[in-house]
């Protein structure tokens, strides 16, 4: 019987094995980005900037030209790349510590300048690679290795809402927060990523997709528990939705 191919690895991913923990959603996020790069026929003309964090090896997983920025500096590096090669597609892939703590200034100013690249932002409320420390997005009361008694917001600050922070900057062309906890959410996330890259293609300005994610390892949960916990707690703190859309709905 002849084999029929119904699903395959996107061209925009290499065959390198992911380094992520079991149950981590980076793999899903990578795949969605890769599918969109292929769908929009951008793969061969894309340059990516990986961050410091769990996804530091992302430049090896995506089958595109790539580099790694210093911690937090991905959008500054992407600014340099895009300004030098305005005809190429450029994206950064960053976690919450990278983008919303050490790289806050670079994030805000790249967005404000309306830099014509896309940021995929993974918010899992914790520093994964360094072993589970408190992130700017850590929830109130959440225990981490540097907030062992729980995050006391009056002492350690409040969870940072990146989309809400960026939505008033005129340089932003597309801004949406998505989740990866149900098949419907994953479909929606893929559509959002597509719009973000279309915003870039059309030269409308900066686009960022915040993906609410999990960290079963550092949350001390099983993969299934972490998804349930994220649906309950993370989505309460970080409601899903479109914050800026200058792309519109025409195809």
């Amino acid at each position: 019987m002849a084999e029929k191919l119904i699903m395959k690895r996107p061209n925009a991913l290499t065959d390198k094995e992911f380094t992520y923990c079991p149950g981590c959603l980076h793999g899903v996020a990578h795949r969605l980005v890769a599918e969109i790069l292929d769908e929009l026929e951008l793969t061969e003309n894309t340059i990516m900037v990986a961050p410091v964090g769990c996804s530091v090896f992302a430049y090896e997983f995506f089958n595109v030209d790539g580099t790694v920025a210093a911690h937090g500096r991905a959008t500054a590096v992407a600014t340099g790349v895009k300004r030098a090669m305005p005809d190429k597609t450029v994206f950064t892939y960053q976690g919450d510590g990278d983008l919303a703590a050490i790289g806050t200034a670079e994030t805000v100013h790249s967005a404000n300048r309306g830099e014509k690249f896309t940021t995929i932002f993974i918010n899992n409320a914790i520093y994964g690679m360094t072993g589970g420390q408190m992130a700017p997005t850590t929830l109130e009361g959440m225990k981490t290795t540097t907030s062992p008694y729980g995050r006391d917001v009056t002492d350690m600050g409040y969870p940072v809402h990146v989309c809400e922070l960026l939505q008033n900057l005129n340089g932003v062309a597309y801004l949406e927060r998505v989740g990866l906890f149900t098949p419907q959410q994953i479909q929606k996330a893929k559509k959002a990523i597509k719009k973000a890259f279309i915003a870039q293609q059309k030269g409308l300005g900066y686009s960022l997709i915040e993906i609410v994610s999990t960290c079963p390892t550092n949350w001390g949960q099983t993969p299934l528990e972490s998804v349930e916990w994220a649906k309950d707690k993370m989505l309460t703190e970080y409601p899903l939705g479109v914050f800026v859309d200058k792309v519109g709905d025409d195809k």
Binding site: T14, T43, E44, N45, T46, I47, V49, V56, Y59, E60, N63, V64, D65, G66, T67, V68, A69, A70, R73, A76, V77, A78, T79, G80, V81, K82, R83, A84, M85, K88, A105, E106, V108, H109
Partner: protein, 354 residues
């Protein structure tokens, strides 16, 4: 060539020289005493379809340089001491990723906020690291505006050839003075093509390219480090530059660079008028440092008097070169105070015991 000379301010002449050398992108942040350079680039780069971008900080600026350099396009930034300190993280990454790029540090008095007057107190930072890791920068120290202009093209050529970042050390004196300079012709070389085999330009029709300063495997990272060192050895072999001024019959020698060396040439004329046979060894490349010229001077002179606008930083390299053969006294002013020719002459006489 004299008829082609035009009067220009230091920072602006350096900017124009960069554009003529094929610099397409400039990223920077305003800081005294070099803000005229970004101002000049903001006017000039759009005229040649280049890109000027004022970053939100020197931290961002150096990372924008990193990004543009990843594409193998000629890119530069300029700053002054506190700003260069902020760039150190990025400079280390740029050195590790072997990205061609040109930096100008118009050095001012330090440490800390310091002041905005001319100084040479960033020598250690420029030549001994500054950022983390085993890396080197090619460091050029012009002493006239014409030399600064010439060094810009040289810096771009060397950084392209060796894939090692190049730094031009100037000071407020050089940056702010006006002098007649002869500018180079516009370069019409395709500088981008030499980086085709590694640059990030999209992987169409080839294997993907990756540019990093990174390997998590210690053995592989050591290999990368050995690679850097091989390049540095080549640079040390080929690129040492030094001026020996009135050294033929010299019984005493000054060692100084940049603005300080220029002042000392006046001191030497004054001293020779009094019958004192003194010369100057002027390192033009601070790294690679001209240790051999220092050694040679030590063999013919009674002492080597190092003079710096710092508390004594290059002095350590002079002592390495002299290797104990002769005394190596020091005279320096800091905080942005510029020694006068007479003051230096008095320092020389004091060492001579006259």
């Amino acid at each position: 060539m004299d008829s082609d000379k035009i009067m220009m301010k230091g920072t602006e002449a350096m900017g124009e020289a960069a554009i003529r050398a094929g610099c397409k992108l400039y990223f920077g942040y305003p800081i005294t005493p070099q803000s005229e350079l970004p101002e000049y680039m903001s006017r000039r780069l759009p005229e040649i379809d280049g890109t000027f971008l004022q970053a939100e900080s020197e931290v961002a600026a150096v990372n924008m340089v990193y990004g543009a350099a990843c594409t193998g396009t000629r890119v530069m930034t300029s700053t002054s001491s506190p700003g260069f300190s902020l760039m150190m993280e990025g400079v280390s990454y740029i050195a590790g990723a072997k990205l061609p790029s040109v930096f100008i540090n118009v050095v001012r008095g330090g440490p800390g906020l310091g002041d905005i007057q001319p100084a040479q107190s960033d020598y250690f930072q420029a030549t001994k690291g500054g950022g983390h890791g085993d890396y080197r920068l090619i460091v050029l120290a012009p002493s006239t505006l014409q030399e600064a202009v010439d060094h810009i093209g040289l810096a771009f050529d060397m950084t392209d050839q060796y894939r090692t970042p190049a730094l031009i050390i100037a000071d407020g004196m050089l940056g702010q003075m006006m002098e007649p300079v002869s500018l180079p012709e516009f370069s019409n070389t395709d500088h981008k093509s030499v980086h085709e085999d590694w640059a990030l330009r999209g992987a169409k029709g080839r294997e993907k390219h990756m540019v990093t300063s990174f390997d998590i495997d210690p053995v592989k990272l050591e290999k990368m480090n050995e690679g850097y060192q091989e390049t540095y050895k080549e640079i040390e072999k080929n690129e040492v530059r030094v001026e020996e001024y009135m050294m033929e019959d010299a019984e005493y020698a000054f060692v100084a660079y940049g603005t300080m060396a220029r002042i000392i040439k006046t001191t030497i004329k004054m001293a020779r008028a009094e019958g004192i046979k003194v010369g100057l060894v002027r390192p033009i490349t601070l790294w690679p440092f001209p240790y051999k010229a220092i050694e040679k001077a030590a063999e013919q002179s009674k002492f080597l008097l190092t003079v710096e606008m710092s508390m004594g930083q290059m002095l350590e390299d002079v002592r390495l070169g002299a290797n104990g053969k002769v005394p190596t006294p020091f005279y320096g002013r800091s905080g942005g105070v510029v020694p006068t020719p007479t003051e230096v002459l008095n320092a020389l006489k004091k060492e001579m015991g006259v």
